[in-house]
């Protein structure tokens, strides 16, 4: 209960900060945070699966890329009406569909743990390779450019997200809503049973729980949100490239989740924003320094703060309490 209250409190603080931010930031800074938030949504989608099931997907960028390419192909085709809306739906459905097929064979085939991680790693590599090779559709190495910003009608007014502020508000609201929704799913009955399956799958099955089905649905939901993040990103960036489904992004998203705190949903969003911020600052004076530092940060986090940055406060508190007791 206390944990729930703390989470909601931190969530509320983040929402307030997100609302106040446009007052102090210029257009460029807004777009930087907006893009970071999209990657934060992507990180939250991985955390929803990894954090609750303990099974690591090492090819999550595949779903991000699938979402991105579907969105690009739909919105670049002039013949399709309501392109933005259909594109987002297609991106979400496409990522979910691929996850359902791969997940079905893995979960019902009894593949878990590192074996799952290895197979999803291969899946990510295959997706990136497909994006490079199928150049008649995907544009090959250079990808597709000129993707229009999201635009749709609400009643009589047209919402056009080509401007910085509206697009920031749009993205921030979606991220807040999705994170809140994922959190309420994962703290209730669904999440408790997932924790039980993570603890002891055979026991859970012997109590009547269909563990593979529950893992599959969680994985599909996670992939669908990754697809949504991919769709949002390509519209904001205006381009899609094979990198978006690549190994590097799959690795980065794992680092964001680990740094922010696995299983917290909010932590990964903050982790994504912080690390991208650091990346821009550091790359500006030495581009080759960044991958080195990123690796070091990851190793340090794993050893020093295995529960992520959100756990710093709790750690300090228990440290101080321990010291006081020692005196």
């Amino acid at each position: 209960m206390a944990l729930d209250r703390n989470w909601l409190l931190i969530f509320a603080v983040c929402v307030v900060l997100a609302i106040l931010y446009p007052l102090f930031a210029d257009g460029y800074q807004l777009t930087v945070i907006r893009d970071a938030l999209i990657f934060g949504l992507f990180a939250a989608s991985l955390d929803f699966f990894w954090g609750r099931t303990g099974i690591l997907c090492f090819g999550h960028a595949a779903f991000f890329g699938i979402g991105g390419y579907i969105m690009a192909l739909v919105t670049l085709n002039d013949a399709i009406p309501f392109a933005s809306l259909l594109g987002v739906l297609g991106a979400v459905a496409g990522a979910a569909f691929v996850a359902a097929i791969i997940g079905y064979f893995l979960f019902f085939g009894g593949i878990r743990g590192s074996y799952f991680t290895i197979v999803t790693l291969a899946m990510g590599v295959i997706c990136q390779q497909a994006a490079v090779s199928w150049s008649s559709v995907t544009g090959g190495d250079s990808g597709l450019i000129g993707i229009p910003p999201i635009a749709f009608d609400v009643g009589v007014t047209q919402v056009d997200l080509s401007q910085d502020l509206p697009s920031y508000i749009f993205v921030a609201s979606i991220v807040a809503a999705v994170v809140l929704a994922l959190w309420s799913i994962s703290r209730g009955r669904w999440g408790t049973v997932l924790t039980a399956i993570q603890d002891n799958e055979v026991r859970a099955a012997a109590l009547g729980h269909n563990a593979p089905l529950r893992l599959l649905i969680t994985f599909v939901l996670s992939a669908a949100i990754a697809g949504l993040a991919g769709a949002l990103y390509v519209c904001m960036a205006g381009l899609v490239a094979p990198d978006l489904s690549g190994l590097l992004l799959s690795t980065e998203v794992i680092v964001w989740v680990a740094v922010g705190g696995r299983g917290t949903l909010l932590g990964p969003v903050l982790g994504a924003i912080l690390i991208q911020r650091a990346q821009q600052t550091i790359s500006s004076f030495n581009p080759s320094l960044w991958p080195l530092l990123l690796g070091c940060v990851f190793v340090i986090i794993v050893f020093v703060l295995p529960d992520g940055i959100l756990s710093i406060y709790a750690r300090l508190k228990s440290l101080l309490r321990g010291r006081r007791r020692a005196q």
Binding site: V193, T195, D199, V202, A205, A206, L207
Partner: protein, 234 residues
């Protein structure tokens, strides 16, 4: 014969060159309590695995309410009304005691007793909020019995429920089961004779995968052959 719940007929199982079980028969009637005993390696756990459908016998059949259950997925077997307590305490260490029982209730469409009642039944009423991983060994065993009860079973199969318990805990467990007797059928696999004596029920003695004796515990206890096997004279 309508009150027969579980019927194992002529069950045999072979692992490679090893005949682990041979020609075993067991009939469990509705609301009956029975024990399977035997020295280490007698095939008790293997037989229990066959009875729960997790191992498919190489000969013979196991029928629960007339259905062949061999090879069904675990969750389907649970939903038929077969609950099982594993030999090693199998609980969810990262959930609270209360959540462990809730997860158990959520597994089946129509769960039975409410969580509060389950907690009292397995003497964990004051540990509801504790993490299950932090319980003492005996309490973990009880929690798992509580979880098995939560699915409102027709048949409860217990694999060495008192393994690692103190003598007092063992007797408390026997009392717990005697209190539940008459609500559903219970099959307990044990090698702790004090526990089986306390239950004092129909008993099947296994030795090297075969039936050695079966009958009321009183007759079994006084049987010369059973004593020999338990003392390792044969």
């Amino acid at each position: 014969m309508s009150d027969v719940l579980l019927q194992a007929e002529n069950v045999g199982i072979r692992f490679g060159g090893l005949q682990a079980l041979e020609a075993l028969n067991l009939t469990v009637r509705d609301k009956e309590l029975c024990c399977i005993i035997g020295p280490n390696g007698a095939g008790k756990s293997t037989f229990l695995n066959v009875l729960t459908g997790t191992l498919r016998p190489t000969s013979g059949s196991v029928r629960f309410l007339g259905h062949d259950i061999a090879g069904l997925p675990l969750h389907r077997i649970a939903r038929l009304g077969i609950a099982r307590k594993f030999q090693i305490p199998s609980i969810f260490p990262n959930l609270s005691v209360e959540d462990n029982l809730k997860v158990a209730r959520w597994g089946v469409p129509s769960p039975g007793r409410p969580v509060r009642e389950l907690l009292d039944l397995v003497a964990l009423g004051d540990r509801a909020a504790a993490l299950a991983g932090e319980l003492a060994h005996g309490q973990k065993q009880w929690l798992e019995i509580g979880m098995a009860l939560a699915i409102e079973p027709r048949l409860l199969l217990l694999d060495e429920p008192t393994a690692g318990m103190t003598p007092q805990e063992t007797l408390a467990t026997a009392e717990m089961l005697l209190r539940l007797k008459g609500e559903f059928s219970i099959v307990a696999v044990e090698h702790d004779i004090r526990f089986v004596r306390a239950l004092n029920c129909e008993t099947l003695v296994l030795h090297q995968g075969r039936r050695l004796r079966s009958g009321p515990f009183h007759d079994i206890e006084t049987d010369e052959m059973v004593r020999d096997v338990y003392l390792g004279r044969r």
